[in-house]
Symmetry: C2
Subunit: 478 residues, 2 copies
């Protein structure tokens, strides 16, 4: 135990990490219990540690309050028991707003109160492609509009996904079987590196814990192995403030799991995670019952974005349409909507629905590098338009959008957004408070323009519109 | 009774009309029974006659077999009883294919076997606008792509529909009440004239018998008046081969009617109509149970044309989406979809669904002459594209389209149509019989072009496509 293992200062919502040397004999993953208590005043938080290989044990902690903290370790091995110390939590850096949680029933905010307008994308296994492509993906993300990435812990076996990952989560091999009691720490360190890289770009990592597209056996482990894997993963990753837990991609396609397994996974994650990061589960066809109390928000796959309002009402939680088909040109129906349709679905789900939408891109590629699975570069026309939408959302009051009429949502009485989609009304009646005056701009969602109407309005006001599809309105109090 | 009342020759599926002079005292509509039996060999058809005012009684008959027919009248009044005669039914003219009925479960055909691909439009009360506008509507229809018109018997009171009709179906007035036992024959003669005008243009008249948009009281008559009106209407109009009976527009908005009323209306019409013209009922929100045996085809209002296949399966009848929103720019959501969206919905419902779709147009107009209600001229861009679709349908084998895969329908193994809509696959696998060869053309549904692929295909064949939305494929056996 050397002094450099115990940094004296850590940012609020940063990671304090303690590493101790410990036993290597037998199976440390199974035999050694290691955890720590982190305390400030009368408050104590119990945090699981994990074995990181080569005799090193670590425990990570994300402090949520500034000031002095102290810790003490606990273990069934004397060399890991009772290590104690102190550290100081200082103010977060300018880009550090803390973890995200549900805000105002249907929306999200960072822990420091900053609103978070989820604009997701999907690169399922970008983190299994080797450093060259992974670095290219990060470079693309740097200028892309996305602030959430859906990605898998396990590698993927599917159309356009035939390559082996650089490493595996367990010792063993596909041919001879996996020792699911012996994790491969390097595999998880790489995952942590990529989650950290996303964090540096301001991107949340919506980590998919299980998925059906598997040729290795990771989708069909026994219950004990599943739960052990979940606890190990949470112990390693929960201290990353940008982590979200997605129990599954297309849970209903995993025929080896019962609904009771999914319920148990939620509980295991919830029990293990000291920070209560966001938890969800994504469907292929039938939705999971997002009313269950351990679900923080509805993560759905669906193509009809006009139904977001209905799901908000059903679940009384934020609705994130994580998959609404991808912009692309593959043969399969899930991956060939036009850029215009993708942009349209974003506006429908976000502006009419008061929900959140996810992007993905699947253009045929000579080397099968499709963004939706492997990352790389973006080829489509939707991201620029999605960026335009994000700018409009961020340049608005902090509240989430709430429906006001069939085509409109509002943030209080200061700010209204309307979206007409494939409709092209030549006139529209705004119903605004009559004690205030508002400017009106016509939004062209495809051409990314905002055109002021030239007159201010108040109360019930009929505004004249160009009769063109894919327009919206931004109405702001003066 | 003069000889000119009894034409000696009538076309098959034409109208034989007999008129007799009879009593005028009391209320002939109520007091006088008048009908005729039409016979050929051992076959006899009982047909109701009707009072046409000014002492004239008529009975109309649409013969369906060529050759010699005879008739004899029946009445509770001696002067109308026992009039007998003969006439000859000759071959139909070149444009006369007879009435339409259901064919091959999901489709329609004329009585002579000619396929009928329903391409509908809606001008609810074009027949209540005075001759000048009505003649303009007919001139428009002459070059428009539509072969069915949805239209109401009663006038309409609604947004953009504030004008009074030129005449009323009953004696009386709105202020003093209607004598629903005394029809206004001139009103119905005008309706017949317009139904006949449509017939001359090859257009079916889908006659809406009741609708909720009413300020006169025609939507809230008592049951006896409703039934009497239906019997009178059927007696007058059933002999027109282009008549379809639509019990209602938006039946569910007529709060004075119970479901048992709608069931009864179907039965009254079915009992009264010697020719069993097509019968349907149109909803606003909940569908009527189109499985009921008196419903010949499902007439639905719905915006999701991807569900046509499901409704075919549910009802095992043809599905006609008579209202899927209208091309236009009014404020209300039912009347402001873009031309492209209207064309898209036609292709979805027709080519993917194996069903049939209806058009309507609602562009704001200085004098409130919106096609969807009053007719006039067409302003939109969808009719030309709908005409293109109709040409493709008519230039194909006689069968109806049956689903083959998610994006395709076929007529046997000779002819396949695919439509990709907002999807833009760069390649698509056709699964064709391997013992035949096919030409493939790329259909641009918006630009109305057919571009041959340049190679023929057979069996399972991957074809390369431009990655653009709103394309389809026509695949024809060589």
């Amino acid at each position: 135990m050397s002094p450099q293992n115990r940094p004296q200062q850590v940012e609020r919502w940063g990671i304090f990490e303690l590493s101790l040397d410990g036993p290597t004999e037998d199976n440390p993953f199974l035999d050694v219990k290691f955890s720590a208590h982190f305390s400030q005043g009368h408050r104590t938080i119990a945090v699981d540690g994990f074995y990181d290989g080569e005799g090193v044990y670590r425990v990570r902690f994300m402090p949520d309050v500034e000031g002095a903290w102290r810790y003490v370790t606990h273990s069934n091995r004397p060399e890991l028991e009772g290590a104690a110390g102190e550290f100081t939590v200082v103010a977060p850096g300018p880009e550090n707003h803390g973890p995200i949680s549900v805000h105002s029933t249907y929306h999200f905010a960072y822990a420091d109160g900053t609103p978070y307008h989820q604009i997701g994308t999907t690169c399922y296994v970008w983190n299994h492609q080797g450093d060259e492509l992974e670095e290219q993906t990060l470079a693309t993300l740097k200028t892309a509009p996305f602030n959430k990435m859906r990605m898998c812990v396990f590698p993927k076996h599917y159309l356009y996904n035939e390559n082996e990952p650089p490493s595996y989560p367990f010792e063993g091999s596909r041919a001879e079987g996996w020792e699911t009691t012996r994790f491969n720490p390097a595999y998880f360190r790489h995952l942590e590196q990529r989650v950290g890289d996303l964090q540096a770009l301001g991107i949340e990592a919506d980590l998919i814990l299980f998925h059906p597209y598997d040729r290795w056996g990771f989708a069909t482990m026994d219950a004990e192995s599943d739960d052990r894997y979940l606890r190990y993963l949470v112990a390693r990753l929960a201290a990353y403030r940008n982590i979200w837990w997605s129990m599954a991609n297309e849970y209903d396609l995993m025929k080896n799991k019962e609904m009771s397994d999914w319920d148990r996974f939620f509980r295991v994650v919830q029990e293990s995670d000291p920070y209560q990061h966001l938890r969800s589960i994504h469907n292929c066809r039938p939705f999971y019952d997002h009313n269950k109390p351990w679900v923080t928000h509805a993560s759905v796959q669906h193509s009809d974005l006009e139904r977001v309002r209905e799901w908000r009402t059903t679940y009384q939680k934020p609705v994130v349409v994580d998959e609404c088909c991808y912009e692309g040109n593959v043969e399969r129906a899930w991956g060939n909507i036009s850029a215009q349709e993708m942009v349209h679905r974003f506006w429908l789900g976000t502006v009419i629905g008061g929900g959140y939408v996810g992007h993905g891109e699947t253009y045929l590629h000579q080397e099968d590098i499709l963004w939706w699975a492997k990352g790389g570069v973006l080829h489509g026309k939707s991201p620029a338009r999605i960026a335009f939408l994000r700018r409009i959302l961020e340049d608005s009051p902090p509240q989430g959008l709430e429906p006001v009429d069939r085509f409109g949502t509002a943030k209080g009485t200061d700010f209204y957004l309307y979206y007409f989609g494939v409709r092209q009304p030549g006139e529209y009646t705004l119903k605004l408070p009559s004690d205030r005056h508002y400017t009106v701009e016509i939004i062209d969602t495809w051409h990314m323009t905002l055109t002021p109407l030239g007159e201010t309005v108040s109360g019930e006001a009929l505004v004249k519109l160009p009769s063109k599809p894919y327009l919206g309105l931004r109405v702001r109090a003066i």
